[in-house]
Each structure stands twice: as C-alpha cells, then as structure tokens.
C-alpha cells in the first residue's frame, strides 16, 4: 500500500469513528429517563405547557431527524441553542474552550521539555540512583488520581501556606500574568501527571533503542558515548518521542476534565459535567464532540507520524 493511501485510510477511519460517536451520543441521551421539558417546567408542568415547550425546542421530532439536523447545522458552525438558558451553544462554548486551551497549552509548554529531559537522563543513566528515584516517584505519580494531586496541592499551597488561590476564577479582562497566577495550581497538577506518564514512556522508548543491534555495533566500534547518542541514537529516537508527545497531549484532553472540576476552573470540562447533570443535550453533544475530535485527531496524528517515520509500519503483517 502506498503511503498516501495509508494516511487517507487512517484519516477516514478517524472521521467514521467521530460520526459513530455523535450518533451514539444522540441515541444515548435520548434514552435518558425524564424529559427536559418536564424538568424545566417543574411544578408548573401541565400536558399543554409540556407540549408547547417540546414544540418550541423541536423535541417532538424523531431522534434521527434531530440528529441529522444537528449535524448539518454543526458543520455550518451553528451548534444549536442551549436548552437551559436559550443562548447559542457556540457563544457559551467559545470562552470556555479558550480557557481550556490556555490550561492545556500552558501545561504542555512546561511538561513536554521537562518530561523528555528526565526520560532521556533516566534512560542514559539506567539503574543509577537518579534513575531509580525518578522511576519510583513517577510510578507513585501515575498511581495517584489527578484529583488527589490537585487536593494535596490545595491543602499545602493554598490552605496551609496560602501562596496560590485554590479556586481558579479566570476572566477575559485579566492580563496574561494574572491568568497564569490564578491557574497555577491546575497547571501544576496537570504538569505533574503528564510528566510522569511521558517520562516513563520516553525512558522505555530510549532504553528499547539503546538495546538495538546498531547501537551495540557503534559501541563495539569504540565510538565515544556522546557521539553514539547524538549521531546514532537521537535521529532514531525521534519517531518514538514524537509519538510519546502526541499521545500525551491526547491524554491531557481527558485529564483536563477532572482538574477543572477540582479547581472549579471555568473550562469546557466543567461545562460538560454541569450540562450532563442539567441534561442540556446540545451543550453535552458539542462538548463531547470537541473533546472527542481533539482526542481522535491527536491519536490519528500520532499514528500518521509513526507511519511516516517508520517505514516498517507501512507493511503491517
């Protein structure tokens, strides 16, 4: 199979996955017990008012019709109207998405170089005290749920020493410095989690590489260690490292949900959890689609980069 065809295949598969997921979400949320119209009216619900609200919101059409309409509108940038406060979903999402991206990008900027550095050092000085220390700490870190790390930071840095705010209230009027200060704890939490995962994967990839025959060959030829690493190991390490980075950015997308709830950070994850509770279908659909699309795209990117970097992947057995 040609390279282009493989990549196109991978791309189409991602797209189909995304469509399947949106259909699943529409069908699933349709099956929720209770109805939004009843819930919204509460005590004042009479059969007539319920019917009127259902008519007004288009809730009385069949699921598949609503799904098709929603998808068509979504592709044109119209994500529908929030059921709970009648504002356009796109408008509600815009600021939240910005905040979430800010959190994710800030964490990635700190975490990626740090994790690569630690991972490479641990791999090069394998079995040393430093490597054992880094490995033990990161094993502990991946065993801890994100909310645990978040609350420990809150308990220490926000309650005991009162250095940072425990609740990250972000608004557009704040300057970049103020924003960073307000969201320092969520960034630290995410960084800690990502560094642990990424560092372990980097270390494993480099160790795997250092054990391959051509490195042994270079060592046996009597080359200097620095030359082996710079000239022989690093160019070959590029593909696994790119893969590690992209996969962890995808992981960041999910990690952000829990961290946002811990710090009540006004991002997309918090909005999604709140909307699930209030059963605001258009918002939930849009949030899930954004999270899903990001995750699927990043995974796809990791696969495609791996195919490009490693010719052996082009011929699966």
């Amino acid at each position: 199979m040609g390279l282009t065809r493989l990549i196109v295949n991978r791309f189409l598969f991602g797209l189909i996955t995304l469509l399947a997921i949106t259909l699943l979400i529409s069908l699933a949320l349709e099956a929720l017990p209770g109805d939004f119209a009843e819930q919204r009216l509460g005590q004042s619900a009479t059969p007539e008012t319920i019917a009127a609200i259902r008519e007004q919101l288009g809730l009385n059409k069949p699921v598949l019709v609503r799904y098709a309409e929603w998808l068509g509108n979504f592709l044109q940038g119209d994500m529908g109207i929030s059921l709970s406060n009648s504002r356009p979903v796109a408008e509600l999402l815009a600021t939240r998405l910005g905040n979430t991206l800010f959190l994710a990008v800030a964490s990635a900027i700190v975490a990626v170089p740090l994790a690569l550095f630690l991972g490479i050092v641990a791999a090069l000085y394998r079995e040393s005290l430093l490597d054992k220390m880094i490995s033990t700490i990161t094993l502990a870190a991946i065993s801890l749920p994100e909310f645990f790390i978040g609350y420990m930071l809150v308990a220490l840095l926000a309650v005991n020493w009162q250095l940072f705010p425990a609740i990250s209230s972000i608004s557009d009027s704040m300057s970049l410095g103020e924003k960073i200060y307000a969201s320092l704890l969520p960034i630290a939490t995410l960084t800690f989690v990502i560094v642990a995962h990424m560092m372990r994967m980097t270390r494993a990839a480099i160790i795997n590489l250092l054990q391959s025959p051509f490195i042994e060959m270079a060592t046996l030829k009597g080359l200097k260690r620095s030359r082996i690493i710079v000239r022989h190991a690093l160019p070959n390490a590029l593909s696994p490292i790119i893969n590690v980075i992209v996969l962890n950015l995808a992981y960041l997308v999910v990690g952000v949900v829990v961290v946002e709830v811990v710090f009540i950070y006004p991002g997309l994850g918090l909005l999604m959890i709140d909307s699930v509770t209030s059963r605001d279908l258009p918002i939930v659909q849009a949030c899930i689609l954004i999270f899903g699309a990001t995750y699927i795209t990043l995974n796809m990117l990791a696969d495609i980069l791996a195919i490009i970097c490693n010719p052996r992947m082009r011929h699966p057995r």
Binding site: G14, L24, L32, P145
Partner: protein
C-alpha cells in the same frame, strides 16, 4: 493473607489455579521488593474489607457530630480518629466500609471485562478473516475515544448504579483486553501443539480455551493487575464527578465529591479518602511491577 490478594489477581483468567502455584508465587514475590510492598498494600485493604464489621468503630451511615477534626472525642463515647464529615458521619468507619465497595466492584468489573475481552480476542485471533476485521474495527473505534468521556456518556445515559458502572467499565476496557489476547493468540495459534490438537479433531473452542488460553496467561495476569488499578481510579473519578454509586452507602470517590466544597476549610474530609484510593491503586501497580519482574526472570 497474600492468598486472597493473588486470588483477586488470578481469578480473571484462571479460576482453578492450584494452591501450590500460589505458594510458589509468594516465594518468588519475595525477590521483588516493589512487589512485596504492593502485595502488602493490597492485602491490607483486603483484610480491612473482610473484617469491616469488627474493626469499624461506628456505623458508617450514622450521623453523629458534624465537622469534627481528626482525633476529636465523641461526647457519647469513642473517638473520631479521622474526624467526621459535614453531616456527622465517622470518616474512619466510612473508609473501612468503603473498602468493601471498591474491592467488590473493581474485581467484578475487571473480571467481566476479561471474560468479554478474552472471548473476543480468542475468536478474532483464532478465526481471523472477516470476524477479526469486524471485532478489531469496533475495538479500535472504542479505544480511539477518551475513556473518561465514554464513561460519562454511558453513566449519564443509564444512570449511576453499581451494575451500570460495571457495564461502563466492561464496555470501555473490553476492547483493550481483546487487543492483547488477539496479539497473543496470533502468536500461539501456529504452535505445534495447536496443530496437534487440530489433527486430533478437537473442537475450536476446546483448542482456544484449553490449548491456547493457558499459554497466554503470563502477560494477562500482569495486565489484569495493572487494569485493576485503572478500574479503581476510574471508579474513584466517577464517584468524584458525582456519577458514581448513589449515596448514602460509603464509596471513596463519592466521599470526596460530597465534601469537596469544604476542602478549603476541612481538608481532612477530602484528603483521607484520596489517600485510601491512592494506596490501593499504588498497591496494584507495584504488585503488577513485581509480577512482571518475576515473569521476565523465567
């Protein structure tokens, strides 16, 4: 005590594992310090769960004195060693009873996910062809979606209950297990003993379950242990997001969710259940690490 531990780890694939094997495993485990720590942590929580009625100082759902700090004395007798929560329930007792919840649902969910994953993986790897394509594609699709978002869709659809959490976990982790089993089967199906069994005219299911599966057990036991850790994290996260087991029965994740608004004033209410969850997960991860060391040594 380690017997119970190992049982939870092995039950996923091998219900009739002999006692001799378990004793041998414990002996080997002694060589891996990380594995020993893990076995200790896991068996500690297993013992706590078994003896919950004996060691729990109060009723887990009884409302006594609210907002007590750790170590405070109950005016009606007894001490709140870990304090009480916002409606006056003793946190130590809830942690102790909560260990039963997590140690019931996590192994159950992992076990069910394994049954599904093993069957799908065996079928896909052994028959190959179109059935492999279909199963693998569906699996890839589920795997290429963020797990947490998947849980949220499922739980918010079918509602939060113990059974639904198990269903959600099986749905989300089955494909991962299938992928591992399939890979192992693809390697094992060309072995001579499989060809011999085929020549003897054994049925396909007998070959899959009796000839192939037992030889794939090593990596699967390690994976089951790691996966148990992930399942515990996920049950905790669901509880934390308010999508876990319904109140009032004690559940560690739920305890954090109920008290998180007060985390700034009464950190002990959230930090203690966090520590309980983390030590149990760490236990399973270290145990898996130890077992991997042992299996690599052979």
């Amino acid at each position: 005590m380690s017997e119970a531990t190992l049982n939870t780890a092995t039950e996923a694939k091998n219900p009739v594992s002999g006692l001799r094997r378990i004793i041998m495993m414990i002996g080997l485990m002694r060589e891996s310090p990380a594995g020993m720590v893990g076995a200790f942590l896991v068996s500690f929580w297993v013992l706590v769960a078994i003896f919950a009625p004996l060691i729990s100082p109060f009723e887990p759902n009884a409302t006594l004195v609210p907002f007590m700090k750790p170590g405070a004395v109950n005016p009606d007798g007894g001490t709140f060693w870990l304090g009480t929560d916002h409606i006056g329930r003793d946190i130590l007792s809830r942690i102790i009873w909560g260990s039963r919840t997590v140690l019931f649902y996590a192994p159950l969910a992992t076990f069910c996910a394994y049954v599904l994953g093993i069957v799908m993986g065996l079928v896909a790897g052994y028959y190959r062809g179109w059935i492999d394509d279909v199963l693998s594609r569906i699996g890839d699709m589920i795997l290429s979606f963020p797990v947490l978002v998947l849980y949220i869709i499922i739980i918010s659809t079918v509602g939060a209950s113990g059974l639904n959490i198990v269903i959600a976990i099986v749905f989300a982790s089955g494909p991962g297990i299938m992928r591992i089993v399939r890979g192992l089967v693809l390697d094992l199906r060309n072995r001579d003993y499989v060809a011999a069994a085929q020549t003897r005219g054994e049925s396909a299911w007998r070959i899959m379950l009796v000839e192939i599966l037992p030889n794939a057990r090593g990596p699967l036991i390690v994976d089951a242990c790691l996966r148990m850790g992930y399942v515990i994290i996920n049950i905790g996260v669901l509880g934390f997001l308010g999508l876990g087991l319904p109140p009032p029965d004690p559940d560690w994740g739920g305890m954090i969710n109920e008290t998180r608004q007060m985390a700034l004033i009464f950190p002990h209410m959230t930090v203690i259940p966090c520590i309980a969850i983390s030590t149990l997960i760490l236990g399973f991860n270290l145990l898996a690490d130890g077992m991997r060391d042992i299996s690599l040594r052979d």
